[in-house]
Symmetry: C2
């Protein structure tokens, strides 16, 4: 696909959206026969598409195949073990296919995301992997509207998307971690969630609730904290939980970075892990086994997720269809040394 072809195609998509007074996403949904568009709007757009003689340029997608040899990975920030674990698997898959991996971090800046999007339209790419839970400018939809294959990895805002995604069984992870703490005798279990607008955060929380309810333990809203998935949120929320009149005996962190923050607070307050406080993480990034004490956590198969995402993308690039638009790999509990039965006496506020 030449640049000219790309641009004429882009203009046509934009024209339809503009004429119909809808977003490009809506046009894309209609083109791909996906739900989420009212019947009247759908009919109007379809008429316009026929009028414009617009057809999805499948041939162009095939033409692009192997032309640049580049796969673009867009991530939030160059930090932490989660993204690196996934990149590891992506590279493994691309080494086999012979593609080169272009990496770009948006630093959660919408202006930077838009700039990247403008650039990618003028540059050659075979396809894009998105590791961007928070992006709100509709990158995936805009790429799809230009027939650039895209696969998204990990946390998402919405439960369903009109582009392929790969994740893990987050609900089960939330359930398993909580059930394990209950099995040790804990009844007051604090949870530090991620941002509640993420479906995956809500899934984790639902798993936590399910385990409590099955054990007949009432859910105490005071034990549920919201934060971002950063270490600083772990610090803030662990302090909040410890400052409760009736603090928890165990803390289930939303990810391992938050758990590291919890560790720091417990160290500062001289609360011993696991004797005085049990801690469970989420992700099982590289450093968790080396934390003092080694962290019990929910394993996400990060490398496998990255590898599968890359392979899904390569199949789309090759013009193949995917069996499923959504794939979830299994989470599992990794028991290390950060959990123990609760102390019989109450935890002193420190």
């Amino acid at each position: 696909m030449t640049l000219e072809q790309k641009q004429s195609k882009r203009l046509t998509m934009a024209q339809i959206a503009k004429e119909a007074g809808v977003s490009i996403t809506t046009v894309s949904k209609v083109l791909n026969q996906l739900p989420g568009v009212g019947a009247q709007t759908r009919a109007r757009i379809q008429a316009m598409i026929e009028q414009h003689d617009y057809v999805q340029n499948h041939a162009a997608r095939h033409l692009r195949k192997g032309q640049s040899g580049l796969i673009d990975l867009v991530i939030m920030r160059l930090e932490g073990g989660y993204d690196l674990g996934i990149m590891h698997g992506v590279q493994e898959a691309l080494e086999e296919s012979g593609h080169r991996l272009v990496v770009f971090a948006t630093h959660e800046d919408e202006a930077v995301e838009r700039r990247w999007l403008r650039r990618i339209q003028d540059q050659s790419t075979d396809g894009v992997l998105l590791l961007l839970p928070y992006e709100r400018i509709g990158i995936a939809e805009m790429l799809m509207a230009q027939n650039i294959p895209v696969v998204a990895i990990g946390d998402r805002n919405e439960p369903t998307t009109n582009y392929p995604t790969i994740g893990s069984t987050i609900w089960l992870g939330g359930y398993t971690a909580t059930e394990y703490l209950i099995s040790l005798g804990h009844r007051r279990i604090g949870i530090i969630a991620g941002p509640l607008h993420l479906t995956t955060t809500r899934a984790r929380l639902a798993g936590y609730r399910e385990a409590l309810e099955r054990a007949g333990i009432p859910v105490d809203p005071a034990l549920i904290c919201e934060g971002n998935y950063f270490l600083g949120d772990g610090i803030k929320q662990a302090n909040a939980l410890l400052d409760l009149e009736d603090p928890p005996t165990a803390i289930f962190a939303g990810n391992d970075a938050q758990a590291a923050g919890v560790y720091q607070v417990l160290y500062q307050r001289q609360v011993r892990i696991p004797d005085e406080m049990s801690v469970v993480g989420f992700d099982d990034v590289m450093y968790t086994a080396q934390m003092p004490p080694p962290l019990t956590t929910i394993h996400q198969p990060l490398a496998e997720m990255g590898k599968m995402a890359a392979n899904m993308l390569l199949r789309l690039i090759g013009g193949q269809t995917l069996e499923s638009n959504r794939v979830e790999l299994s989470t599992s509990l990794v028991i290390r040394d950060s959990c123990a039965p609760p102390r019989t006496g109450p935890l002193l506020n420190r």
Copy 2:
């Protein structure tokens, strides 16, 4: 530069090396009028070069300028804060220039390095950043032999190279950390070095020795450990140091990952930081401020190093010359909470 030009050029370089019975590196040194080649060999190669009418293809380098818009970064592994810190700066510089960053990790596998090198010869790149202290197959020389601009970052095997490098004042870092521990009253200071074949490891060790000698403290070889720059090495060597009959009162780790390993050992042996053992790291990666207790460490300006390396590379791509083939940015001591005066009584073996 077309692929054909590249290949004919590569063949010519290889032919000269083959006919002269020397390495491509040697030919490159002669071409670039660099030392390290005997007078006789030099004369012989120069004669051959004239015979072959070989000229360095500066025009081709200019032709390549901006053609691919890609900069390749080759790193050892997708792990840890050091590489990410540098990548952060590289991306910042490339965002300004509009280049895309291609990332490849070799996992310290020579076969993978060779495969990458073969591929990069058939693919387009504007230049290469090498973050590969351990590579022994001569990647930089081979890239230079093909007029692909290259800049190397960080630890190196050799003190001088015939390609541009950027690093930091490692000797000063070793000196400053040791001097600080001495100022607190420590006289038995263990050091966990990196691999001794790296110039940068030896520089760090020389700084350590210098500080001890200035303070009139004899250097005890039992306190000097060698390891790789991984967490596991920190664990192994910290155990070795604590098992000494006369263990140190402070440990100066070769990098922050090793320091995290030292922390783990001290936690397991219930040796309190800093009351019973002081610890200093090296690098100042992102997580050091959050370690329990926050780690005192030698700051390397990683992002600045990455940014400067990228800018040096962009200047080479633009056909400009660099003022210096070697740039070192300053290290500095960051004092946090992991150091204190030594206990008066001896440390019990635990």
